[in-house]
């Protein structure tokens, strides 16, 4: 795979070339909120930590129209899904997350919506040089320069960017912007290696998950769950903003005679998530819900797909309104083993 250099002076031109392709990039509004479409001529800055809302919606939209129908009519109209999308500036943890949840969407059944969107999207990554306060990717199989799930990875070397193609899609992007790029050289590679070693050393939080996946079932009734979930308010923040959370609900929306069936993000932290029609709730309190969130990521997913479904992005820690901290929970779990 090829590696090329892009002088920062040429950055606006590079972005402009990509805007012809339905380009999305982090929208900076004081801080980076989320990925949003970039208009022709709009500037893109890669000077951000990570977006609050992960880019998972590119392959797993919060609301996905599965098909439309007319009430009383047997025909359905499937939405067209053919527009390619380029995400620029995806952090390695978020790209890894997409790769991880793809396993689920390919499991017993190939999910056409997810897989189609995955095929249409090109992920241009941005290696992290300043990991955030709560980043712990390197504890769970990632790294500030992990290329898993990405098509192309960009390193910010100060006055220039180093672009490394990871997949054929990445190669194509390089080929399409070739006139703006120059060949990489030994000094660039050396600078990159140094930069990434430094970045890795800046990660402050760690999780020692050794023994946790196998040990969690034995802690099912442990008092720790009550204590770590006591202050939880049961909102959707930690799950909606988690790049690997992938639960959904399917509902029909009908207005007059026009209806659509859609699937929307759901959250195991919501009370009605496991509420049966009978009124019985299999996870009646926030204790069971919190236990599920941790088990799903650190036990069930490992059991099925042999990978932890947490990429250590730190969002659930940063944004939980009551300081429920997954690193802390995992430390308590480890202690209780």
């Amino acid at each position: 795979m090829s590696a090329m250099l892009l002088n920062k002076e040429k950055w606006p031109e590079f972005v402009k070339k990509l805007t012809g392709k339905n380009l999305w990039a982090p929208k900076l509004d004081g801080e980076a909120m989320r990925f949003a479409p970039v208009a022709e001529g709009e500037e893109v800055s890669l000077d951000y930590g990570n977006t609050r809302v992960p880019p998972k919606g590119a392959t797993f939209p919060q609301t996905e129209t599965m098909y439309r129908f007319l009430v009383g009519n047997m025909e359905i109209e499937e939405p067209k899904m053919d527009e390619e999308l380029v995400l620029l500036g995806v952090r390695p943890c978020d790209a890894r997350a997409m790769k991880i949840i793809e396993k689920l969407f390919r499991w017993d059944y190939d999910d056409p919506y997810y897989l189609k969107r995955r095929e249409l999207v090109t992920l241009v990554g941005l290696a992290c040089t300043e990991p955030g306060l709560n980043c712990f990717c390197s504890s769970v199989g990632g790294a500030p320069d992990s290329s898993e799930g990405l098509d192309l990875l960009i390193y910010d070397l100060g006055d220039r960017f180093l672009l490394e193609a990871v997949t054929v899609k990445g190669e194509t992007l390089i080929a399409e912007t070739k006139e703006l790029l120059t060949d990489s050289d030994a000094s660039a590679v050396k600078a990159k290696d140094k930069l990434m070693a430094d970045a890795g050393a800046k990660i402050r939080r760690t999780v020692d998950h050794d023994g946790i996946p196998e040990g969690l079932p034995g802690l099912w009734e442990d008092p720790l769950w009550k204590s770590v979930s006591a202050s939880c308010i049961g909102c959707g923040t930690c799950t909606y903003l988690c790049p690997t959370c992938h639960c959904f609900d399917i509902q029909d929306e009908v207005e007059g005679f026009e209806g659509r069936r859609c699937r929307m993000w759901d959250s195991c932290m919501f009370e009605e998530y496991t509420l049966h029609t009978s009124g019985h709730n299999t996870r009646p309190t926030r204790r069971e819900r919190t236990r599920n969130r941790i088990n799903h990521k650190y036990n069930y997913f490992v059991d099925k797909f042999d990978v932890i479904a947490c990429v250590g992005c730190g969002r659930c820690i940063n944004l939980c309104p009551v300081n429920i901290d997954i690193v802390e929970i995992l430390r308590r779990v480890k202690e209780a083993l």
Binding site: M33, R52, Q62, L241, S267, P321, D325
Partner: protein, 326 residues
Amino acid sequence: MDLEQLRKTAAEVVARDDVKYLIGWKKGSYGYRVAPVFVEDAAGVAELIFSPLCTANLTTYLTLVEKTPLPRGQEADKRKVALMVKGCDSRAVVQLLVEKGIHREEVIVIGCPCPGVVDQSLLVEKYGDTEEPVEVKWNGDGFMLVRGGEEIKIPRDEVLAEKCRLCRYPNPVISDHLIGAEVEKWSPAEDSGVSELDAKDVDGRWEYWEEQFNKCIRCYSCRNVCPLCYCQDCILDRLNPTWINRAVNFSENTAFNISRAFHLAGRCIECGECERVCPANIPLGKINRKMAREVREKYGFEPGLDPEAEPFQASFKPDDPEDFIL
């Protein structure tokens, strides 16, 4: 704040046979974070703190307790819950009493007169975030940040939470135990956020809220944290009929946010929690404060002050100002 007095009082309260636990604040897992804590015995009181970082309104926990079906023959735990409150939080307690969401004998209120708390995002913006344990204290007119042995004086206005700039009731309006002396009230700032929006025309306001509501991810953090959003059967969770579709788009997001605003008119006590927790940074306070202003000016009513008051939305006064009715 007299920590010793707080912990002593707390220890006495939790030692009582008729008390289940005490809800207070403790140091969080890192940096500036503070977390709610449920103290069940005298040993736990050592964790309790009261500092300018204690922004969260803990009153929400009074109604957030899940009531699961009891095994046959088992009686519900009817013991009291003790709760630490600032001025604003205490108004939520009063409002819950007014609405009979809780009953007076169910709670013990530990009042903490409040000189004003810090907006953590401002603190992070101006002084940087940190994973090291730090302390923020009240210091004369302002605050003091103690970080790595260094003491940094912070002027009050630099990091004071917006709700506190506008606060009219920094002293608890209800309490069983008051910790320390009442603070002197300050003159509340003019609510420029609401006035600026008021000054826009309808299209301008619509445009503003369109941009804001488009950001909503419907995590319902705002609802869940709100001490006064406690309906057992919230319209948002209803599927049959579906009042508000789960689809996340401008129309549904707006329907949700407007419904919530209306349901809180004359009830919201302006604790600012909804805005603080919103992960999409939507200025929800502006909506609720606008509603509160309307209710105050048009009906002369302020919620959460008098436990004997009639609920605003259920009351009728023949002498309402009602100038706005044609």
